[in-house]
Amino acid sequence: MDFTKSDATAAAKHDLVNRLGVDHSVVEEISVTEKDFPDMSLGAPIDGEMSAQMISTGWEIKLGVESETYEYRADKYQLRLVDFDGQNFVIGN
């Protein structure tokens, strides 16, 4: 199933709740912005991954929990968590 902007945002919130073990109510949606990314890993490759070097449009999703900001990136095929404890993660595609 392809992601829509709202699907991707909902999936990002769900991932963050599970990842941090916090209640859904404490996750703040800071911004969801359409953006061009440098490649098809949305500029957030994981280890051992190669990606097509085509400028790709998707969404940058910024969520807040307490004073921390978490960045997700998504397009219709995938959702990624960027630089979480120094690593990128592919959440789903």
Partner: protein
């Protein structure tokens, strides 16, 4: 009067009349030619038969060419010009009677020509001297301007949007900021004997503009058999992502790259590839999202090597992908491909950074069969997103707003060094179409040694220039 003298005079008169008639006819033909064309830059640049006399007017103000009747002296011509407040600008000794008139009132050239033509007592013909504007770059580089309009163009309806092949300066572009494809096509339009592997997200091998140029395994070549992966009925290529025999594209990226290399030419559909004819072998390792594993990339390269060893003429692998992670195994696989005579063309990456300082792979592998490609926009400027590196990025090619094939018989524009690399792969295939036995070293040398030098690229890429198809196949311009 002596009878003999009369015949001599009659003879001279006949010769003069004949000469005048011939000259008059030539001018009539020239006038017809001029009236048939629009005096715009683009059109005038295509007329290659103008004489030196025409070219002399390049830098002058608009003027009128007048042919005076025999017997009208230079002094009389000067008097006539002075009466009209004009200046006799030039007298063409080689063609007696022709002078150019500069109108000091700066009147419309057509009106001035009519004014002189009306003096039928003295004047045979008068016409505006249409100015031929030579683009400074055109005159300096003497580019392939003669091939840019008119005959020789493919009938693919969206060819006019393919600025990378024939840049006429539209949509904010810069004239001649392209790879000189039209000139190159006068020598070769590709060959189905040359196989280019598109190592990517697969290729939509049913696309209306690609289907005729897709590789299919000939009966003489056995099915692919890998000791670990098993056997595959690889009619269309190989899918290393799913370990399957169907490399159908489910993303679009590979189909876009394939169209740049070899969308069928002159088929009255969509776009045209650099090669009107070629054999594209789809190798899929990028999944639906456009990303994949290094391991699967290696599996796909091994497939290409195996097919080469079984007799398939795979000469180029296009790699419009990458990351910053080094892999010795991937490097070895690409080296092995080189040892089989396969050129490996790789995208330099889209982070806008210097690959000399922060490596991008596979483009940064220092191997004799690797070409790393940066992206240019339609003004010959490096695209803002493009990686560069005077030591590690070898050449630049068009890579912004590139129209090509997409899934489901569609077409779309895309940007990235992903789009620049296939231009180099395509030109490599074009070279091999006419020089099939060229070694991979010579092929690489030819491509990098035939660039159009661009000053702004001297500090950005090793060759200091943009890909030039015409020069690469041996057509100096």
């Amino acid at each position: 009067m002596n009878r003999n003298n009369i015949w001599i005079h009659v003879g001279i008169a006949v010769v003069l009349i004949t000469l005048a008639a011939v000259l008059g006819q030539i001018r009539l033909w020239e006038t017809t030619l001029r009236s048939a064309i629009t005096p715009s830059n683009e059109t005038l640049r295509t007329v290659s038969t103008y004489s030196d006399r025409d070219k002399r007017s390049i830098s002058s103000e608009p003027e009128v060419l007048v042919h005076f009747k025999p017997g009208v002296s230079l002094a009389q011509i000067k008097q006539i010009a002075a009466r009209n407040n004009d200046l006799m600008d030039d007298n063409y000794e080689a063609v007696k009677g022709w002078v150019s008139i500069d109108d000091l009132d700066n009147a419309d050239a057509d009106a001035t020509a009519k004014q002189y033509a009306a003096m039928s007592e003295f004047v045979d013909y008068a016409e505006p001297n249409y100015e031929i504007r030579l683009d400074p770059e055109n005159s300096v580089g003497s580019k392939d301007a003669n091939y840019r309009t008119g005959s020789g163009q493919p009938n693919d309806p969206r060819f006019a949007e393919q600025w990378a092949l024939n840049n006429l300066g539209k949509n904010g572009g810069k004239e001649l900021a392209d790879i000189g494809a039209l000139h190159a096509w006068t020598k070769t339009q590709g060959s189905e004997q040359v196989v280019v592997a598109v190592l990517d997200s697969g290729v939509d091998y049913t696309h209306e503009d690609l289907v005729a140029n897709m590789w299919t395994r000939p009966d003489s070549v056995p099915e692919y058999n890998d000791e670990e992966l098993g056997s595959f009925d690889d009619v269309h290529g190989f899918d290393a992502d799913a370990n399957a025999d169907d490399p159908m594209d489910d993303n679009g990226h590979g189909t876009h790259c394939a169209g740049i290399i070899g969308a069928e030419g002159d088929n009255a559909k969509g776009v045209v590839g650099i090669n009107w004819n070629v054999s594209i072998m789809p190798l899929k390792f990028l999944g639906r999202g456009g990303f994949g594993t290094t391991k699967n990339a290696i599996e796909a390269i091994n497939y290409a090597i195996d097919r080469k060893q079984k007799g398939v003429n795979v000469r180029v692998i296009n790699a419009s992908w990458g990351s910053t992670q080094y892999s010795r195994a991937l490097e070895d696989a690409i080296r092995a491909a080189g040892e089989q005579g396969i050129l490996f063309v790789a995208a330099a990456g889209n982070n806008g950074t210097d690959n000399d300082k922060r490596a991008h792979y596979p483009s940064n592998y220092n191997l004799p069969n690797v070409i790393s490609v940066a992206a240019l926009d339609r003004t010959d400027s490096m695209a803002s997103f493009s990686n560069f590196g005077v030591k590690t990025v070898h050449i630049a090619a068009p890579g912004r707003e590139i129209l090509s094939t997409w899934l489901g018989d569609a077409y779309r524009e895309a940007s990235g060094t992903s789009m620049a690399a296939p231009y180099v792969s395509g030109v490599a295939a074009l070279i091999l179409a006419s020089e099939p036995n060229l070694s991979v070293a010579k092929l690489r040398e030819r491509i990098l040694g035939s660039v159009d030098k661009i000053p702004s690229l001297e500090s950005k890429v090793a060759s200091g220039g943009r890909l030039c198809a015409a020069d690469a196949i041996g057509l100096r311009h």
